[in-house]
């Protein structure tokens, strides 16, 4: 579904992503793990079109490099950004409306229903400002908002960031459930243990390059990974 080849991201003189290559096959959860500043978020931003990279990003057989973010989103790649970025000045319903920006009016109602079924808390507060939600609720809203566009690829940037452990496992349960229904997921996480538990395949990023890749289960047992990312001595 997504094929990334020799991807480079530059911010001025800083070379954040240094020629990485990876694949996200249809129906799989693929995770990029690595320390803060390894280039994970930059990679997602490049795929989503928020930064202009060098290299190739093929999504559903089309080249995405050089396309603007809104066109990539319309193609069906949805990014839940790091830090959630819900529109705190809009109501929950309006946030969902934004998520379904390119949906026809008639398509919206069933999508709202689906979102509220998956996240009942959002239904109760549909007309409240998103700014009144807790961090965990905002993460649910950010997910629901991304799903409004019925994406074929769901990209999650640090969904566990700043959330209580209980909420984190809820979020990961939902991602797993979505995947079981066929959603392709590209997950970026510092919380490597959680990410590797639900992912099929994983890439380890260090200083902008991929240093290790493999089945998630294997990496979970890999000694280097355990030492560097799972906090074991």
């Amino acid at each position: 579904m997504l094929k990334v080849r020799d991807l480079h991201v530059y911010y001025g003189v800083i070379h954040a992503v240094k020629g990485i290559t990876f694949d996200v096959p249809e129906g799989k959860i693929v995770t990029l793990i690595g320390a803060n500043g390894a280039g994970k978020s930059s990679t997602l931003k490049a795929v989503a079109g928020l930064v202009k990279p060098k290299g190739h990003i093929q999504f559903l057989g089309h080249e995405m490099v050089g396309r603007s973010a809104h066109k990539i989103a319309r193609r069906g790649a949805a990014l839940v950004p790091e830090g959630r970025h819900v529109f705190v000045n809009l109501t929950i319903l309006e946030n969902l409306r934004m998520g379904g920006f390119n949906k026809k009016r008639s398509e919206l109602e069933p999508l709202y229903e689906k979102a509220f079924e998956m996240f009942p808390i959002l239904k109760e507060r549909a007309n409240q400002k998103a700014g009144t939600l807790s961090g965990g609720e905002q993460q649910m809203l950010a997910l629901a908002r991304a799903l409004m566009s019925e994406p074929s690829l769901l990209m999650l940037d640090e969904p566990s960031l700043g959330l209580a452990p209980k909420i984190v496992s809820e979020v990961f349960d939902i991602v797993k459930m979505l995947n079981s229904k066929g959603m392709t997921v590209l997950l970026v996480e510092q919380n490597a243990a959680q990410a590797l538990k639900i992912a099929h395949y994983a890439y380890v990023l260090e200083n902008g390059t991929i240093t290790l890749e493999g089945n998630a289960k294997e990496l979970l047992n890999n000694e280097d990974v355990r030492k560097s990312y799972l906090g074991e001595m």
Partner: protein
């Protein structure tokens, strides 16, 4: 001062204030989405009045068609100004855009001076708008009744757009977070163009009514109303649409009342708006309806 005079002055202030309000909405919306004080906004109002004259005298449109044409054409001018002058600077520092806006302002003023000369032109006032009603000693020019009503109708339409249409909601989303709005699949450039179109259309409407009220126009006429509308937008809380309208009404009424109560100050009437601006900036920089600067808008 008796009640009649107070009513009369309130009424005059309301009419003037709604003109400021119409213009202030453009300032506030553009600031909301791209954090730019569009100092050329008052000049866009001036452009509107010239388009109105030309569409009557050169295109021979009846007055109502001329008004509609003017509003649409001026909206297009606003969009073009954004595309040519501001869009290339979208990622530049705010001060660059601000200086560019001042440049666009000077450019429009001088372009129109070159084309039309500095001699004021008479603005033809259709008979419908030139009547005067007398009601219990209060003199009500028809235009002064019409202006606040039209301003309120425009405000209601705009609020409806902002609350209930996807482009309106996207404008509010954009005012908070441009990147995430892009991620939603919304074409941010198109939305910004739409904001310039709305702001400029309202400035054109303001310009037409200004010219109907004070039927003499010149290329520099937009400066003072533009600056006062800016003060109104800040007073109301820059970024807030209802705030801009409210700020406009307040400044209009204060300006008129101050002169009515202290006639010797008539020569300083232009100063009141700016005095108020200074006080707002000193004591409540977020204005009446403004929120925390980096929170959402409208």
């Amino acid at each position: 001062m008796n009640l009649t005079i107070v009513l009369q002055q309130l009424f005059n202030g309301l009419a003037l204030g709604s003109l400021y309000g119409l213009i202030a909405i453009g300032y506030t919306m553009v600031y909301g989405v791209i954090r730019l004080i569009n100092f050329a906004h008052g000049d866009i109002m001036m452009v509107g009045t010239y388009v109105a004259i030309l569409s009557g005298s050169a295109l021979f449109l009846p007055w109502w068609a001329a008004f509609i044409f003017t509003i649409l054409a001026t909206a297009l001018v606003g969009v073009l100004i954004d595309k040519v002058a501001y869009k290339p600077l979208r990622n530049a520092s705010r001060i660059s855009s601000l200086i560019t806006a001042i440049g666009v302002s000077f450019f429009l003023e001088n372009l129109f001076l070159v084309i039309f000369g500095g001699v004021p032109k008479a603005f033809p006032v259709p008979a419908v708008f030139s009547g005067v009603l007398h009601e219990g000693g209060v003199i009500l020019p028809v235009i002064s009744i019409f202006v606040p009503l039209v301003a309120l109708v425009f405000l209601a339409i705009l609020m409806y757009i902002l609350r209930n249409t996807k482009y309106g909601i996207a404008m509010r989303a954009l005012s908070l977070d441009m990147e995430t709005t892009r991620l939603m699949g919304a074409n941010v450039d198109a939305i910004i163009s739409f904001v310039f179109a709305i702001g400029s259309a309202l400035a054109a409407a303001g310009g037409i009514f200004w010219a109907l009220k004070y039927p003499s126009i010149n290329p520099l006429m937009g400066i003072m109303p533009g600056l006062k509308a800016f003060a109104a937008a800040v007073l109301g809380g820059i970024g807030s649409v209802p705030g801009a309208a409210l700020g406009g009404f307040i400044i209009g009424i204060i300006e008129v009342l101050a002169v009515a109560i202290f006639p010797p100050l008539a020569g300083y009437k232009d100063a009141f708006a700016f005095l108020l601006l200074i006080f707002v900036l000193l004591f409540k920089p977020t204005g009446i309806m403004g929120e925390d600067l980096e929170r959402g808008r409208f």
